[in-house]
């Protein structure tokens, strides 16, 4: 038994959520999916450790959930959309998590987004035809 290699395996700083990833993290993501229900959110908030055990998370996954360690949760196979459902319990947004993945502050992360998009209006003018408000 072997996980097939893919041409996306070596994209830098990137986890591609594929069969290998989802297979190894099924219980973690399943627990996160359960948070769509307010009753389950209340039960989790009441005793996070017990709730993780109920979903049979691995020890590593459980510790990462309790610590709100998003780089670890990602490494352990958490899907980003499901991690969003966990992040709220730690008072975190997706931008906070985005910052945590690269060990910078959320303000630095927002600045990175702004820097990456800087000058976009010049690009639009160069190409023409855009509504420019």
């Amino acid at each position: 038994m072997v996980w097939k290699k893919h041409d996306y395996d070596n994209l830098p700083g990137t986890v591609v959520f594929d069969g290998e990833c989802t297979h190894t993290s099924y219980n973690l993501n399943k627990m996160a999916f359960s948070f769509n229900s307010p009753e389950n959110r209340a039960e989790f908030a009441d005793d996070m450790d017990a709730y993780c055990r109920k979903f049979e998370l691995t020890d590593d996954q459980r510790v990462a959930v309790l610590d709100g360690d998003f780089p670890a949760l990602l490494r352990l196979g958490g899907n980003i959309y499901y991690l969003a459902k966990i992040a709220v319990f730690h008072g975190m947004t997706m931008q906070d998590a985005g910052a945590a993945f690269q060990n910078i502050t959320t303000e630095q992360f927002k600045q990175k987004l702004a820097d990456n998009a800087a000058g976009f209006q010049q690009h639009l003018e160069k190409r023409g035809g855009y509504w420019n408000g």
Partner: protein
């Protein structure tokens, strides 16, 4: 007969949903983004589609990872939004058109697209945010919807080419519907963004604008891209742009481009709007 009256593309990010819920449209961060929708809203008011097919991806509301359909179509009389677990406000339910949905399913499967048919389907922000962007100023939804969910969450995902071909088949299906029905297609999601990993936060303006140009003028350049090509430049979540290709496939090879708008960053993404109809010349 059924008729495709036009197609548009839009972001569906949850931050936009929260901005609308909190009435931040005039806030300096948001104003230019929301202003870019005005021509699309006017067009929809004038053309009055009977049905909107919303091409979107579910982010863990209706579908969990236990069952991941590549292409799923709603076949119900109504669709409800619901609690996604992290606080985006819910909106009123939508009316469906089950007869048209079943006709589309039959036609698409006959044409080789093996759709998953859903008689119950909760629609998440991927569908709801675009509907709110277009219609929130009205007292109720002015048209029916048919949700068409594309898997952009778990690889393997369909290619841009497959999505484009689905759009072409969708047009054939719509045009063979016996009742006079005006259908608009919303391709949602995108543009460049990556939410996870050390590379989180990428926005590639030049890639986004290339995509917008090619979707309008040269869709074959988009369908030549592999999903890895798209992720390399547009980010893992930027893969959502494949859903724009479903819309594009449903419009004629030559289009009238009625509106084109881009803004970045919005939340973690580049945000593009296109509005197009079949070319008349």
């Amino acid at each position: 007969m059924g008729k495709v009256i036009g197609g548009l593309t839009t972001s569906h990010i949850p931050a936009v949903g929260n901005a609308m819920a909190n009435k931040l449209e005039q806030d300096p961060y948001w104003k230019r983004f929301f202003d870019g929708y005005k021509p699309v809203i006017s067009w929809l008011e004038k053309e009055k589609p009977d049905v909107v097919i919303v091409v979107y991806n579910d982010h863990g509301l209706n579908f969990f990872l236990d069952t991941v359909p590549t292409f799923a179509i709603g076949c119900a009389d109504s669709y409800a939004n619901d609690d996604e677990g992290w606080g985006i406000p819910t909106t009123a339910s939508f009316k469906g058109d089950a007869q048209l949905s079943w006709h589309l399913s039959e036609s698409l499967i006959e044409q080789g697209f093996d759709m998953t048919m859903c008689q119950e389907m909760k629609v998440d922000h991927g569908c709801v945010v675009p509907m709110n962007l277009m219609f929130r100023h009205l007292p109720e939804w002015p048209c029916k919807i048919i949700p068409l969910a594309v898997n952009t969450v778990q690889h393997p995902m369909p290619s841009a080419k497959r999505c484009y071909d689905l759009g072409k088949a969708l047009r054939v299906a719509i045009e063979s519907y016996p009742e006079d029905t005006k259908v608009a297609i919303f391709g949602t999601g995108g543009m460049s963004h990556q939410l996870q990993g050390e590379r989180a936060g990428i926005i590639d303006v030049e890639f986004d604008l290339e995509c917008m140009h090619n979707i309008v003028n040269d869709p074959d350049k988009m369908t030549a891209l592999t999903n890895t090509n798209i992720m390399e430049r547009g980010g893992t979540e930027g893969i959502e742009v494949i859903m724009w290709m479903v819309m594009r496939g449903a419009i004629a090879p030559n289009v009238n481009l009625l509106h084109k708008h881009y803004h970045a960053p919005i939340s973690n993404t580049g945000a593009g709007v296109l509005l197009m109809t079949d070319a008349t010349d």
